[in-house]
């Protein structure tokens, strides 16, 4: 067995998986509470990635950074998460809220419209070309040379570690928030039974806003992590990532948060192993094959509850 190839794809799969998981969490949170597939969610990720790129530029560009790398990363993350969160809240406020009582197809089509709008707006403002985080150039490339080696000479660079560990930290924070805080509990209650939550005095509108903010902030962070590892940002990057994250959410059991993480990992691994062992031409097909297989064997997703629970 070629361990070098295997471990390379494993590392790539986990890194991709971390990014998909973060995006899938927002998909799942919004679906849980509104039963809406927010197809604009991938584009929030794109905006987060561009905000990160903007911060790099502000601090002198990849080759001539004027600040410490950790400070830079922190500023990038905070700004991308805030921008993502605020964008998510605006999308909810202006595109979805009025349609809450409408037939489900209406917000779905609106979500596609918002997605096109964001992609085209980004292209208009930022241009259609690829930009690069160029993290290889940061501080003379020291970021990628540090890290650690796996057996058979596979190197794991610091950016990959930052992306995966960062994603894990955010997931832990999210878990804590949802399980322990008052708003987090209200989110769970509202996503299980919106009317009963309202009957408890929970302001459902505010809970929905909080859900969009948090889910979208995670997507913004995912944009930064992705740029840090894979460099490229461009206006249409949200399409593929959003689609994969959506598949990840469904594979894990949409509406289920641990499911989104597991689904993200499965999709990330499926993608990189099919690229490494079969061909990059087929990776989309393989990812969809995973989706179909899971849907056939476990229609409610890997960790999804069967839909009979609700009384």
């Amino acid at each position: 067995m070629n361990w070098n190839l295997f471990l390379t794809e494993l590392v790539a799969g986990v890194t991709h998986g971390a990014v998909y998981s973060l995006i899938a969490l927002g998909y799942s949170m919004v679906y849980g509470i509104l039963k809406l597939l927010n197809f604009a969610h991938g584009d929030v990720y794109m905006v987060g990635a561009f905000v990160g790129f903007g911060i790099i530029t502000v601090f002198g560009g990849a080759e001539a950074l004027s600040v410490n790398v950790w400070v830079l990363l922190l500023v990038m993350l905070v700004c991308a998460m805030l921008a993502g969160g605020l964008l998510g809240v605006m999308i909810e406020r202006f595109a979805y809220r009025r349609l809450r009582a409408a037939p489900r197809i209406a917000p779905l089509i609106t979500a596609l419209g918002v997605s096109f709008f964001l992609e085209n707006a980004a292209q208009l403002v930022l241009g259609a070309q690829y930009q690069s985080y160029n993290s290889y150039g940061w501080k003379g490339g020291s970021l990628w040379t540090s890290g650690f080696n796996l057996p058979s000479g596979v190197h794991v660079g610091l950016p990959q570690i930052i992306a995966v560990v960062g994603a894990i930290v955010l997931m832990i924070l999210l878990t804590w928030f949802v399980r322990r805080t008052r708003t987090g509990k209200a989110m769970r209650a509202t996503s299980f039974d919106r009317e009963a939550a309202a009957m408890m005095g929970i302001d459902v509108d505010r809970v929905i806003v909080a859900t969009f903010f948090i889910g979208s902030a995670l997507a913004g962070a995912a944009g930064v992590f992705n740029g840090l590892v894979y460099q490229q940002v461009w206006p249409y990057m949200g399409f593929q990532a959003g689609l994969y994250a959506f598949i990840a959410a469904v594979v894990g059991g949409i509406g289920n948060l641990p499911g989104a993480v597991v689904g993200g990992l499965v999709i990330g691994l499926a993608q990189s192993f099919s690229i490494g062992y079969i061909s990059s031409t087929f990776s989309d097909a393989i990812v969809f094959a995973v989706l179909i297989a899971v849907m056939v064997l476990r229609p409610s997703g890997l960790l999804g509850r069967a839909a009979v629970q609700k009384v």
């Binding site: 008052r182 509990k185 209200a186 769970r188 209650a189 299980f192 039974d193 009317e195 009963a196 939550a197 309202a198 009957m199 408890m200 005095g201 929970i202 302001d203 509850r305 629970q309 609700k310 009384v311």
Partner: protein, 253 residues
């Protein structure tokens, strides 16, 4: 209903003048889309009273409670709490003023623990003080034992206790109950109504919606009877129990 009809309303910004009923519904018309559900409903509950609202299936009982809470907005009419017009106020505002509900079918948050369900009941009161929990646990000791269990895994009787405990967490002045006996074994119905009596005797006013006329009239002070969205009967509970029309209505179905 003693005709309080056309008193000059000053849109009472401040609390209730003495003697104001806790809850007044005046000329309520509630629609679902084009369908006229509640038709000119007048109803009141005074402080400390236990009032029951009877009626067959789909007569509009739950809709009445949802109108009181502001889950649905009436097209015409006024909802007054302690004299204040709250018709256009959000649900949270009304709940903060002291209403709580045990909804139809209980509507527990099944994937959350018993403790978390109780916290949701006191959502507008910071999730409940130690006292609030103690009060509820002393009424339903079994909930203390089950506090870390998911509500969806409890038995029907226990779920009913969680639903009542959840509503009582907020220390309501007015407790709305939507068919508390539904789906319970007869012995549990009896237990439920004992608790209702006990809570009422502690000074909580109640509006109890029921199809089970006998049991609810036996503990109520007054009652209303709803039929396809209109009140057809109202009066003292013991008078209603003797009423031929009510008997016929319930036997005729």
């Amino acid at each position: 209903m003693s005709g309080t009809g056309d008193q000059v309303s000053t849109d009472g910004e401040h609390g209730s003048p003495n003697g104001e009923p806790l809850l007044v519904l005046e000329g309520i018309d509630t629609f679902y889309g084009p369908i006229h559900i509640l038709q000119g409903l007048n109803l009141e509950v005074r402080a400390g009273e236990l009032v029951c609202l009877l009626g067959g299936n789909a007569s509009g009982k739950s809709t009445t409670l949802k109108t009181i809470l502001g889950i649905v907005e009436p097209r015409n009419g006024t909802v007054r709490l302690e004299g204040e017009d709250v018709t256009r106020r959000p649900t949270s505002y009304r709940i903060r003023k002291g209403i709580a509900i045990v909804p139809e079918n209980r509507r527990l948050f099944a994937p959350m623990t018993v403790l978390e369900n109780l916290e949701m009941g006191a959502y507008l009161h910071g999730g409940g003080s130690k006292e609030d929990f103690e009060r509820v646990y002393s009424l339903f000791p079994v909930l203390y034992e089950r506090r870390s269990q998911l509500a969806g895994t409890l038995s029907g009787g226990e779920q009913q206790m969680v639903a009542m405990g959840r509503a009582l967490m907020a220390k309501p002045k007015l407790l709305l109950m939507d068919e508390p006996s539904m789906g319970l074994a007869p012995i549990l119905v009896e237990r439920s109504f004992e608790i209702i009596k006990q809570v009422h005797e502690a000074g909580v006013a109640m509006l109890v919606v029921e199809q089970n006329a006998n049991v609810s009239l036996s503990i109520a002070d007054r009652g209303y009877v709803l039929s396809t969205g209109r009140l057809v009967l109202e009066g003292k509970a013991d008078e209603l129990r003797e009423n031929e029309d009510l008997r016929k209505a319930y036997l005729g179905r």
